[in-house]
Symmetry: C2
Subunit: 202 residues, 2 copies
Amino acid sequence: MASKGEQTRMKLMEIAEQHILQNGFSATSIDDLITEAGITKGGFFYHFKSKHDLAQALMRHYREKDELLFSDLFLRARELTDDPLQQMLVFVKLLSEMMAEIEDLHPGCLVASFTYESHQVNEEIRELTAASILDWRRLFREQIDRINDVRPPNIDVDADTLADMLSTILEGGIIVSRAVNQKDILVRQLLEYRNYLGLLYG
Amino acid sequence: MASKGEQTRMKLMEIAEQHILQNGFSATSIDDLITEAGITKGGFFYHFKSKHDLAQALMRHYREKDELLFSDLFLRARELTDDPLQQMLVFVKLLSEMMAEIEDLHPGCLVASFTYESHQVNEEIRELTAASILDWRRLFREQIDRINDVRPPNIDVDADTLADMLSTILEGGIIVSRAVNQKDILVRQLLEYRNYLGLLYG
DNA sequence: CGAAAACCTGACCCGGGGTACAGTAAAAAT
DNA sequence: ATTTTTACTGTACCCCGGGTCAGGTTTTCG
């Protein structure tokens, strides 16, 4: 089991994620975090040597977490069907269901948070946000290549662009959903991506 | 011509927009703005009664500006063709070209900035961000309705969702472009929306 | 049991941020 | 030309945030 220190560290990271998604990185004060975590300033700086250090740890952690999540959803999709297109359609469906099931508040993404505060974070964090997006591109693109191996698309599209489109709709859908305070918009947008794939390969 | 006060006010708003898009609202200090504008703190508070007041003025201004811009692009599209679908395709094309032409830095959107700092801004600003998105929905939806009047789509899609998809791709495309530092991604994503429309009504 | 390592406390520093306001210069109005 | 309005300047205030540090407590492990 996790040591006491690891638990506190994790707790801080979870609290920080929520704060950053609602308030942004700059407006997330260490005071807020430690108050909610029930520790003191010294305790915070025992775990993280600075606020940026926390942000880096956060990005690293959620990059891994997303990789695992997406891989898992693909695995589940591949158990249901052998057709790459169907697998992709199931993947997006599962993803949309996950998004719908986030109970409290709206879904958010640290990549977007840090991107809109890019001048407030250091180079390592910017690299991590870029790396996350490129992870997703690679993962989605692999599946799209598999689809293309089975049957060509009805019109000529760039595989990377089609892969990025899913990230784009995720990030954009989150913003539009939150801006108008309607959670179902994100789900609908993801399903619209499915429609596009259907027409492209149907 | 604009009075001296109006000019300074505008200058402050322009500087503030850039700062907010790069650093976020919370990290945008009044000191930064007045230094760049060449005035002092007192001068700032002559024009805006608070930082939030500036943010509200900004959102109001850019909501109007976007409305005008989008309307203008539609007008230009309607001069080129009478077919509603072609008009929409031209509109998106013009929009993508505009985005490509922003010389310095990457495109950004205040709606996204404020959305990811929603707990840092007041209710009026949140209402203005929602109103902006709903403006776009109405504008895009009107055009989609015209397309549907001419010919039905090949698959059943919700007109509002299809309208929101353009906002989604815009917002998402901005984030993905900025995150990986490749401006052409946004353009490609917008063109992908065109492809979708093409397949949907082709 | 005892020592070493891990974990945390709480007071303090320092710079910066938003705000207020009294006074001043420049522009506009009469 | 004089008054009035507009557009500021300069300064002082207070709080808040990131970060430091010397020491205290709790775990872990031999």
